[in-house]
Symmetry: D2
Subunit: 341 residues, 4 copies
């Protein structure tokens, strides 16, 4: 930790700050220049000590700014685990040489829609089936998903096709139920900092996909994943799905630089969701290629037999022919970065 004092800090003030540091297990090392006074605080107090003491120091009049040096996360960091983690989802690998494509409808609507989609995307090369049974919707008057019935439809599709299933869980009390039906728990962007949900997912052993919050920094995202790993569940993958910016021509701004950023900071895999990330069907193929090119471990793609009849997100959903084209076009990109699809 580095503490920068205000101009003209007195010797007494320097001592007050130093003492507070010593009280919390740090060894302060004071550097006084003509203009500025800097205190480098080394030592290894616990992470919780570090998190607490910084705002306290900031509350002292003499302190201009407090800066962290060491990273506020551990288990997710690449330093704690230098090799890439490869998750195993019922035999499907995520994070290894193979690119993993997860595809399916935004919402589970009925058995036929899911079966048709599942078979079609599997034939095109998708490995995991996605579909929403519980849906987070901005309006209470929107379709809220089929719930348990939706989970049962997904399980039937899994049985019929052999594809593992990813679906969203929105609240701690349903984690157990969703685990019975799903192979991957999706934590949505709006729940990235729903800490009770993260803790509950940390207690189970089902792999989880943690979507980035709409306005979450990379660091906050890593810390949110740390909640799950700290709970004992290390089967976590990230999913970049677009952030909020001022640009209105896309629904969100897909931040692909998150891919190399996460790859550098963490050993966990990262997936990209270009359907949500752009909100525009005409951009899904281009941004899928870009995602693979910059190192993403997989894609999450919305597919529906008839997007114009979809109960949610039709505007960003591919039909089956378009999905087939996507998979075809991605193969040479995957090869160009030394991976397969």
């Amino acid at each position: 930790m580095i503490i920068i004092l205000k101009h003209g800090a007195s010797d007494d003030e320097v001592e007050t700050v130093s003492q507070k540091l010593r009280d919390h297990g740090y060894q302060p090392n004071v550097t006084r220049g003509v203009e500025d006074t800097i205190i480098a605080a080394i030592g290894s107090p616990s992470l919780s000590e570090k998190e607490m003491v910084a705002p306290q120091l900031q509350a002292l009049e003499a302190v201009e700014r407090v800066l962290f040096v060491s990273k506020p996360y551990k288990l997710v960091s690449r330093e704690s685990h230098p090799a890439d983690s490869v998750l195993d989802i019922q035999g499907v690998k995520v994070g290894g040489q193979q690119i993993c494509v997860m595809a399916g409808p935004c919402s589970v609507e009925n058995r036929e829609q899911v079966m048709t989609t599942a078979q079609a995307v599997r034939e095109s090369g998708a490995q995991i089936l996605r579909g929403g049974a519980y849906k987070p919707r901005t309006s209470p008057y929107d379709f809220q998903g089929l719930g348990l019935e939706g989970l049962e439809i997904l399980a039937a599709a899994r049985k019929a096709t052999g594809m593992p299933v990813i679906t969203e869980v929105m609240t701690p009390s349903l984690v157990e139920q969703v685990c019975e039906y799903a192979d991957v728990l999706q934590i949505g962007a709006r729940n990235m900092q729903n800490y009770d949900l993260l803790k509950e997912v940390g207690r189970c052993r089902t792999p989880a996909m943690l979507k980035r919050g709409l306005s979450s920094t990379i660091e906050e995202w890593l810390k949110a994943a740390e909640y799950i790993l700290a709970g004992g569940n290390s089967n976590v993958m990230f999913c970049e799905r677009g952030i909020r910016t001022f640009e209105p021509s896309t629904r969100f701004t897909l931040d692909l630089s998150a891919v190399p950023a996460i790859k550098k900071a963490s050993h966990l895999p990262i997936i990209v969701d270009p359907s949500q990330g752009t909100g525009r069907r005409d951009m899904v193929i281009a941004m899928s290629k870009a995602a693979i090119a910059c190192g993403a471990d997989g894609l999450l793609i919305e597919v529906h037999p008839h997007p114009e009849d979809a109960m949610s997100d039709g505007q960003q959903t591919l039909d089956i022919a378009q999905f087939n084209t996507l998979m075809h076009d991605l193969k040479p990109i995957a090869a160009a970065v030394g991976r397969s699809l």
Copy 2:
């Protein structure tokens, strides 16, 4: 709803769109110009129909854009209730002529801290005591709050001072417990779109304060409140607490234009939290004055007897003398806008 077709849309395409509209209970009214074709779709299908059909139309090749005319919320809208709603919190009014100041520590740490703060802020004129027992923290290694013990301390302070208590509830399963101790349920920024939580709060009758999400638009915020009202709980107030922007000199950017925006769109009261909203103790007084001047119904202020020892958010917390100054300085501002404090 207004549907703008792509340039050169054929008669067949216009008919396809029109038929889809008729299927969903709309009467389409087509305007074809030299350049553009516009379809105005009037009629009164249910809100859920409206929400569903727009993305479906957007999924049609011939459609350039779909625009909503009517507002996607009802019960929170000023049109549904032209007069200002005034909430009654154990006799304390929020939304009326009187400005309501809620003050107290970020986190409940121990009985003495809460008692000291409660008595001090009450003497300075605060009407509601705030304090966090369950704390949403970005890192799993941060202090997570005292939980139930914290609620009991708040209840003791309420008994001792007569002040109603506001505290955060983070997860649906704890709503019932928190209702036993709290007079106002706070829904934090990171939970603004935790829909299961909103629904649970909608089922109880305890007043709720809905903080704005870090990157939530005004419209999304109104829709989130609509979840609570649609559940049957109409005792809701909004709280502006800063949004995420690129500016690093404040922790968030306090968007005070949200105050007149909410006042125009809704009948519900709006509170401003300058402590969270700026993250800087030296700005709390200035921004509190601004909030009252532009029409806020109250303030939420972090106060601690010793901010430099606070277990969270010390850098943005006033000490007791500073809070007293704040209350003193606010009086003439309140008077200048025809209100009292």
Copy 3:
């Protein structure tokens, strides 16, 4: 300057960084902990040295991050000039006890429009007349302003009413011309980092108003002002006019926390433009009150006799009666913060 090295930096790497610092006139002070190595670099090289060496250090493999301690601006800083600067605009003071209101049309359209507006706003208490002769417009097909003819109309209104005039200058080659007609040069948001323009304005002695760039941080804004002061013109005032965020219900997000931020960092006055900052006529009065309440030294308000016929920005322009109401409503707010209007 503080240099944080990567984990496991070798002694050789520490020496490479230290030597580079010594080469540039710094005295490095190394602190090595178990986890981290920190180098505090004190000494007083010139500001230009500082600006250059940081990215060079960052380019070294061993360096994790470089942090600045001292502020990258001098003449604008409050440290260089602890007392508030008060500008004198032909006898009108900006930055002192009196709040200064500048009002007038967005664009100068014709002599009658300007005269009518000028007389009306002066009667209501405005002290400076605003009006655009050269207009920055997002489209080349928009009305681009009357240019020199517009300046002559403004000068005529100044003669008739005695009000000093503020108008925008968009390009270095016109600074001299605009100085002949204007009492204050306005530098627009889109030109905040037009450095040739800033340098040219620095060479003249006409007071300048520097609007904040749409996505400029407070620090970048201070540095832009430093260009003008470094050129020799210290008659500068800032103007907060809204920043770009994700919120669509206002044209920009008026960042009123910029007012206390600038007041703390600099001795120069700060004005608020609620017309541009919100883009909504129905918010101008509320946000004007808030601006004065949090310490702004003045306001910039768009007024037109018939906003519905204005050639630009009618949606955010007050008519004369509304402006009169504004001035009336502001008086008690100004009094509440110990100022007059």
Copy 4:
């Protein structure tokens, strides 16, 4: 244009709006529903009429919102020119089958640095040499570039290597001078809305690269390019270089979805600058691959023989070996999207 009236608009108000539309050459077509009144205004007034009348309508009390249907730009639109435009820069094509890489130092520092870099990047396959002679710097104390001397060094490198040169022009009065030395004029992000500069560049015939403003929407960017084309210079390419967001781990957020967005809206080529766009050397290769994968026509890359001695932007600059690796790694990506490098 579509005008949405407020709830309960009277017949008189509808007629007032309709009359205003007729006055400006529109034919209004009124649709009155139970809830809403919508006026579709067709006809073909000039673009300048359209731009002016919308804010006027918005200024009417009865009007809730005004929406544009047709695009506010013409010459840059793909509708006006369905085929891709291919620029010819002294024989180097931009926008065709071949990917064009422009590389060189951020700042021109001296003859040797430029010569060494130029020869090295040409050998690796770069086609155009970049280098800054006039530098926009946030602080007046930063290195401001060598100016004319820098242009002469670039011209010498062009002569020695045969590579065309791109360099920035910051102010209208220097356009003529820079045109004497440069083959492409770069308009920087901070000058994207420097309209006098755009007009001056529109008057010359040298090709121009228009960088996206830090907080410019795609539509504003297209309109800015329209200024240049409207002036008669149709040799324009766009350059995405990152936008301002809340994310601090990259200097800007590179918005690659701008590539398909521009490709859809316009016939002009688009280049990506991953050096500026991320501000991190360790991300340049990954984001370059992504840019080519999603359809960019070229790249702008900062290269320096010794980034740790560069006078600007060393932290995001590749050295010569890294640039060579980049070019090698890009070839299979280009091939995968049917292009060559």
